[in-house]
Symmetry: C2
């Protein structure tokens, strides 16, 4: 076959690669690599992998593998529901690179499209939960519950005194599992039981969580109304969290009305496929007073340089990249793409559509309840929305006979099954279930209108989805145009390179994306019986095996659904390993100053104490300081967290020595694998001496960034840590022999220690990384690493002289990324790194990573996927900007009159009658030749972050001020 | 299920519909319809159809139906080859509304993206065939051959004297079939035989066609070299046409080098799926001297109002909409989307990629030839590119045993099979074929490098694909960005309404598009055995049945792959029916003056003589003139062609009388169904009294326009015409009982009379119309018609007064479209209809149909899919333009200083330092509030058509002048 992939994935041609090598002083890749990667970690062995497949071969191979999945209709519920993704959203968001290749909207001026849709998401959540503040978004429902627990502890708790947290036994079991993991690690005492029996007002509780409706379907759990429970909690100075369901809330009283303080849940059933557990957007909303303790990203309204309203991410000062070990949470990459899909679903259906869907779901459930009850089965209370339970002789037998007919029910216990309705259930499905599962030969599906409404005392009173945005796009043409309008505001990889250091914005190839929306991938429930998910298991096992080979580790878990969650899971593995050896007292986690903010935040969440290690002048780990800290903490040293190559983009020479020193002191080495793109095929965490490492599959392994998620943070571990990989209460096998190691017993199935709601996290996007690896093969993967290093060094070479390039390895090479130091120029001219970042927008580029890991710098990571012409364009832009800085430096142009200061330039500004600046409009908008034929327009002027944080508005209404008049009035 | 479709397809909400009805003076749809549609044709019966399915139900239903297709690997060849659509092209062109919902690029300023890609297509064809002039594009290879025959007759022929045309017996049989149909109709004497035996130089031939390589695989047919044959033809004053294959031409001498004058073929195997026969782009190229006789659309380079190079459709004066019965051909809608895909494929692979693919195909064929020969079979000559034949005992048995193993071969005759290679054939496929078809237990697939090259005396000498465009986009990121860059230059339905009168640019719903790229639809060979295509047959039969019900006819054929081809097929049915009754002398075809240009062009092609009938002052058929013409032509009257509602957008009251008069005179009534969108569910061609009608499925039935095609022109006929539906030499069943009528024998399978290369034309896009009908159901279809009429009347009402609305029905209503007469305003102000059309671009709209059917007017057809807000925006734009015209009329603004005259306005113009105009830049670019939040920028100033036609350039090179410098040089 001739559709081989590596040449499509790697940007430069062979000939260009050679030219570039020569430019930076090498004759071949071997000499470049030898000069860059320390000899004591460089491998000369090829990765042992399947030979590279072409695109069509690989897609066919995976299709065949996944065809052993059985796609039954799911009545399982338990947080994951059959839903119908509107086709217009499927094709134009989920399958559209304009949406899925975008980055987190840090550069607000070229991200107003997805910022608007994320604000819509927040508005949706706020509307249905009744709380004014919502974030966008969290990793899943269980994570959201754990975050809320942590939030209530932060707001109301006291270490050791007021550290109890109550969890209803009627929560989804996977949520209880995650609360157990998370509470244990940070000293919260978790009490699980009946809420009516909880001494909520005794002053020892910081919070409590109930499920509304609960996991068995009851709208409220028995014994005491949630309102009364909330009152008792409030008396005791504790908060009530409601884990809830947006679909149910379209019919039921809002959590705010019930007296809850925080609502959490999943937006999955708003049009996001189940995907064997993820990715889906978790949500969390609360009142204004608690907003500053909210986890995750919050989109807010602010103004731009012209005083016009616009959007940006608000209150970043709460986040880990600023607050580090004191952050509200470690959540970084979340689920932006899926939050956007859920918002689009709500917009497309609007209040009447959502209400109709919810009404139909409710009616289906009531019909099933009636018919099963009439057939003589004992059914649970009628006070439900979409779920109820049935007593049977043998739940496995019931489940098996329904499954054989194509329908899955939930096995609650040996004599109870659960039945849950979703949007996609047809009348035929329902009839089939009743017949196959309950022997009802010809069920009566008759259903009057009244069956669509919940009981009056449960019912919501007001209107839902009242904002105009939920009323404007009801036809497919309208929806399509709205999606397109937003897409066109955002600069994504389909326009130009996004050279974000540490983020590895490489090609997200179409072939890799294709399986994500296959039926066998998208429409599988995470708790479907194992015999229905053999295709998924085979893929996960094979992927983990390849990742073992790539990392040099013994076992891998795919459960973490973000890099930061991977860190958390890895640190827990270390902690539990140490405890298993009787060294549970080891709690000190050494972290270099330069580390990514999620590192200390995750360590804190894992109940470790962070001690910072200095960097030396070359940006390396300060060995003297390290030795001192090791010595000081000796017996209490748990681990050292290190990113490799360093966050400064350098292959530190001392890495092996560092690992040895930590090990000698009885500690473990955690490697942050964010920079794996510089390692694959040349070295590995295992070779270097690390014990555990997380991989950002959304960086090195091609999962697209989705405008801020999804992601997968698979962790790899050495064999001694394999037994401590995340478990899962519902599916212990998640930590079992799918871990990629075929040695029997090395990976043990377990019911404890889950770190995500679903056993395999964001399973539906694993095919992306799987195909990438299969299509690249060992040679392709190594070449990708070589080109990633070459591209970075070529750019550093071109920019050197004009700019200060910070930190290089001992032979003068950077790894796969490099840092441009703008501080000297700022000192001499006043031009800031932000000016450069915003001016780059005028040149058609997304800024590199700004002020991280070093304030006042830009960090550039081109990746292997960028071709020489694109690299040159970017360098040309930077050099042109350098000349603009020089104009300020030389006094030719005043700082306030520089196009740098006033960037980015919008069409609106350019067309204002009074052009305020000395430079020409062409200089403003078309500063380079390529811009003229392919201009990307920022849609607002420079965003005012301070104003927005001072005037926090995180739902839609004020947006109307800059919307056109969309009224449907007859003119 | 709650995902019902009709409310998504129809733009206005129920409430808006009611408001709009009130505005135009009705209380309900019934009264509006009664006031609009003549009582004697209005039906009160609901269409008898399946109940409407929701989107998910319909997609699942069709999936299930099509699952009975068997998707074997195809070695059949014969013009259709296994190909691999690069995934980046699949997702970002074929599945992307930005490409597929665009219209034919008549408005060049907002179409530069697809114009560029079409020019790339022409450049590709020119490069490989060796001829400087190429069109973009034709309907399929067989049509292209027939067009070339017609062209050579036009250039070199003489009626009755020099009217012979030679066709090699080694052409693909479907091409011979089409040549037979087409030659017969226009008095060309077709001679089929061995070219070496053709008396080519005897002066009686206008042209000849050979296949290169021929249908059995030989590079040239035996007996005489094509060069020598060409010399003999030229001596006789005739032209040589080579039917050829672009893939083979990447290795073989070009047709131009062989001495041919015209090359034709299909670009299918450049990445366009076989799709059971279509749609694919046919091509035709020739030398400069013959360019003005070329059929189809030609893209050319010209300059804009600023003197900058840009693109537009050239030489439209040759086309049917100008030349009518004297046009070069009747081709209107062609295959733009597929031509664009083929061009993208060539760009992505480049010369080295195409050559590698071709080399591999050749090597596979040589290995197969070697192994089958070695196994003792008699194989055809080794002088082939990708195809050879094998003598076997029983070809059906060989084919059956290969088919059982998953491989299809061609059955040439009872003891010969053909084997052809395509890009997607794997080594395993080849081994499987050799084993299952030829009993070769363990075939030797060894293949040295030399096997990839054709024999030296056949080989091409120079480089292929030399233009830089074929060298710039080799990585997926590059390709993705190029496709996006072009897409963003074009205004399509994903931006705003395209209210093109007579074109019915309604919603092309995503659900409808989804099946097009299913394996079961895309990867089926048109000549696969019937037992493998039962899914396709079931769908076609059911679709035709529904279309029978909708049209009131007895039978339908889906073979015509454009509206104009439908006309041709319908007229042939009439002609053959008359002949069968011994009335072959009836040759007069009456056509109203107002008819679409394809009508007279098709009639001429069908060998009829066109006689024009006048229109009266109300735009109706002039009854007096009609009577006169009927009387005059009496015995010779074949038929009357009429569009209904009329091309003026009016339900003519006299229609029944007209039909009766024609019938009374012994003629047949051909109805042009372009305006079916005003009939469905309210009346029908059958009810009105027509005998035959073509439906543009790409108008009324939702197939997207694809930037100028594909299309389907299904024809429906009354029962007496059913035996005369198109046949097919390779698949007689095409005219058999799949015609939608279950009465046995009414539709007769036949081997004659094909009008397209494939039995079911553009079969792969039939699912679009099929799903539309299934999702709308009887009520939805009728409502769509009602809203189409309502939307048009609402707009006419809003614009009336400000503009003259031409022609209305007797109660003052228009049908589903209406004409705005700009002639009075032009007379009084000098502002032209073109000024209005171009100024609309500044307001974010595509112009309505310009100067057709009446010069100096715009014809507006909103369709039912546009919502009230969008209709109002368009009306607001027109009213604002009216005020701008008034400014000129009142003398306030000079014509040359009006934004009308200088429209459209580009960013380049706005940013020029010397703004030349009195009005503001904001007036130029943001003349309405909605434009500010969602501006669409024309990418060039007003295009100069005259300049371009005078300086005809139809391949890429000069384009470089406005490309940025894309060189990959190290700076
Ligand atoms: C070095 C490093 N570590 C950890 C992370 C966190 O990964 P995630 O955003 O997937 O949680 C990042 C993300 O950018 C990173 O750059
Ligand atoms: C009235 C009428 N007839 C015939 C046609 C020809 O159809 P096609 O372009 O599919 O060949 C058209 C196309 O717009 C038309 O408007
Ligand atoms: O191209 C058309 O005339 O519709």
């Amino acid at each position: 076959m001739t559709d081989d992939f590596a040449r499509r994935h790697i940007g430069p041609s062979d000939a260009d690669g050679l030219k570039m090598l020569k430019t930076i002083g090498f004759n071949d890749f071997e000499s470049m690599v030898k000069s860059t990667v320390p000899a004591n970690i460089l491998t000369d062995k090829s990765l042992a992998m399947d030979p590279a497949m072409t695109e069509s071969e690989a897609v066919a191979y995976l299709k065949n593998m996944l065809s052993s999945n059985v796609v039954n209709k799911s009545f399982i519920g338990q947080g994951y529901y059959d839903t119908i993704t509107p086709n217009v959203i499927l094709r134009n968001m989920l399958e559209n690179p304009g949406w899925y290749t975008a980055y987190t909207p840090y550069q607000a001026e070229i991200s107003q499209g997805r910022l608007e849709m994320l604000l819509n998401f927040q508005t949706l959540v706020s509307d249905l939960t009744g709380f004014p503040m919502s974030c966008a978004s969290l990793l899943d429902e269980s994570t959201a519950a754990a975050e809320a627990m942590q939030m209530s502890f932060a707001l109301k708790g006291k270490k050791g005194k007021k550290n109890k947290f109550f969890a209803s036994e009627d929560l989804h079991p996977q949520t209880i599992g995650l609360l157990q993991t998370r509470s244990e690690a940070i000293g919260i005492e978790l009490i699980i039981g009946k809420h009516s029996e909880c001494p909520a007002d005794d002053g020892t509780f910081c919070g409590a969580i109930v499920q509304y409706p609960n996991t068995y379907g009851a709208i409220e759990s028995d014994g005491e109304s949630y309102e009364s429970f909330s009152e008792r909690l409030h008396e005791g100075g504790a908060l009530l969290i409601a884990a809830t369901d947006l679909m149910a809330l379209s019919k039921l009283k809002s959590p705010a009305d019930l007296g809850a303080d925080i609502a959490v849940g999943s937006a999955q059933r708003f049009g996001v496929p189940m995907g064997f557990g993820g990715p889906h957007a978790g949500f969390l909303s609360t009142s204004d007073s608690y907003s500053r303790k909210m986890p995750g990203r919050i989109i807010g309204v602010t103004i731009d340089s012209e005083g016009k309203p616009c959007l940006r991410m608000a209150m970043q000062t709460r986040e880990q990249h600023i607050r580090r070990d004191k952050a509200t949470s470690n959540i970084c990459t979340a689920q932006a793409l899926l939050a956007n899909m859920a918002a689009a679903y709500a917009i497309y259906h609007g209040p009447e559509g959502v209400s109709k869907i919810a009404g139909r779901i409710h009616a289906l459930a009531r019909v099933a309840h009636r018919e099963i009850g009439a057939a003589g089965f004992k059914v649970s209370t009628a006070d439900f929305f979409d779920t109820f339970t049935v007593e049977v002789n043998d739940s496995s037998a019931t489940a098996a006979s329904a499954a054989a007919a194509g329908f899955n029910v939930r096995i609650v216990d040996s004599t109870t099954v659960g039945i849950s309705m979703g949007e996609g259930i047809t009348r035929e499905d329902l009839a089939g279930l009743l017949t196959s599962g309950f022997g009802i030969a010809s069920p009566d599906l008759a259903c009057g209108d009244q069956l669509t409404e919940v009981a009056a005392d449960r019912a919501r009173s007001g209107e839902i989805l009242t904002h105009p945005i939920f009323h404007q796009h009801r036809s497919e043409s309208q929806m399509l145009r709205y999606l397109k309008k937003l897409e066109n505001k955002d600069l994504a990889l389909n326009h130009s390179m996004i050279s974000l250091g540490s983020c590895t914005m490489k090609l997200n190839a179409t072939a890799e994306m294709i399986p994500v929306t296959w039926d066998e991938v998208a429409n599988v429930h995470p708790f479907a019986p194992h015999d229905q998910v053999q295709g998924y298991h085979a893929m996960i096992k094979d992927l983990n095996k390849d990742l073992c080979e790539i990392t040099g580790f013994a076992a891998v878990s795919a459960q973490p659904n973000s890099g930061a969650t991977g860190e958390y899971a890895g640190l827990l593995a270390i902690k539990n390993y140490l405890a298993s050896k009787g060294e549970g007292h080891r709690k000190i986690c050494l972290i270099p100053k330069s580390a990514h903010g999620t590192n200390p935040a995750s360590a804190t969440m894992a109940g470790m104490k962070v001690v910072v290690v200095d960097n030396d002048d070359e940006g390396n780990c300060d060995m003297a300081d390290l030795k001192k800290k090791i010595e000081k903490h000796g017996e209490n040293l748990a681990c050292f967290m290190i990113t490799y190559p360093s966050t400064f983009g350098v292959f530190e020479e001392a890495i092996v020595e560092i690992c040895n020193r930590i090990h000698d002191a009885g500690g473990q080495v955690y490697m942050d694998g964010a920079n794996m793109n510089a390692q694959v095929g040349l070295t590995s965490p295992g070779a270097i001496g690390a014990d555990v490492c997380h991989l950002n599959l959304h960086k090195t392994f091609c999962i697209p960034h989705g405008g801020g998620g999804p992601g997968v943070g698979s962790i790899g571990v050495a064999s001694h840590l394999a037994p401590f990989l995340p478990g899962h209460s519902v599916d212990p096998e998640a930590s079992g022999d799918l871990c990629g190691n075929t040695e029997p017993g090395i990976c043990v199935p377990k019911t404890t220690g889950a770190i995500a709601g679903a056993p395999f996290g964001s399973a539906a996007i694993l095919p992306i990384s799987y195909l990438y690896i299969k299509m690249m093969g060992a040679d392709g993967l190594r070449e990708a690493t070589e080109y990633a290093i070459l591209n970075a060094n070529y750019m550093a070479d071109r920019l050197d002289g004009a700019f200060d390039i910070l930190y290089r390895g001992k032979n003068g090479q950077c790894a796969h990324e490099f840092i441009i130091d703008l501080r000297p120029l700022k000192a001499s001219t006043g031009v800031s790194e932000e000016d450069v970042a915003k001016r780059l927008q005028d040149y058609g580029f997304h800024s590199p990573t700004m002020s991280w890991p070093v304030a006042g710098t830009l960090m550039v990571e081109p990746t292997e996927s960028e071709d020489l012409a694109e690299l040159n364009r970017f360098c040309d832009a930077m050099l042109a900007i350098r000349a603009e800085i020089e104009d300020v430096g030389s006094g030719k142009v005043k700082l306030e009159d520089s196009p740098l200061t006033n960037s980015p330039h919008t069409i609106d500004q350019l067309l204002m009658d009074d052009w305020k600046f000395d430079y020409s409009k062409n200089t403003a908008a078309f500063p380079a030749p390529w811009v003229r034929t392919n201009k990307f327009w920022p849609t607002c002027g420079r965003v005012d972050n301070v104003y927005g944080d001072r005037n926090l508005i995180c739902t839609c209404p004020p947006l109307s001020v800059y919307e056109e008049d969309e009224t449907n009035e007859i003119a």
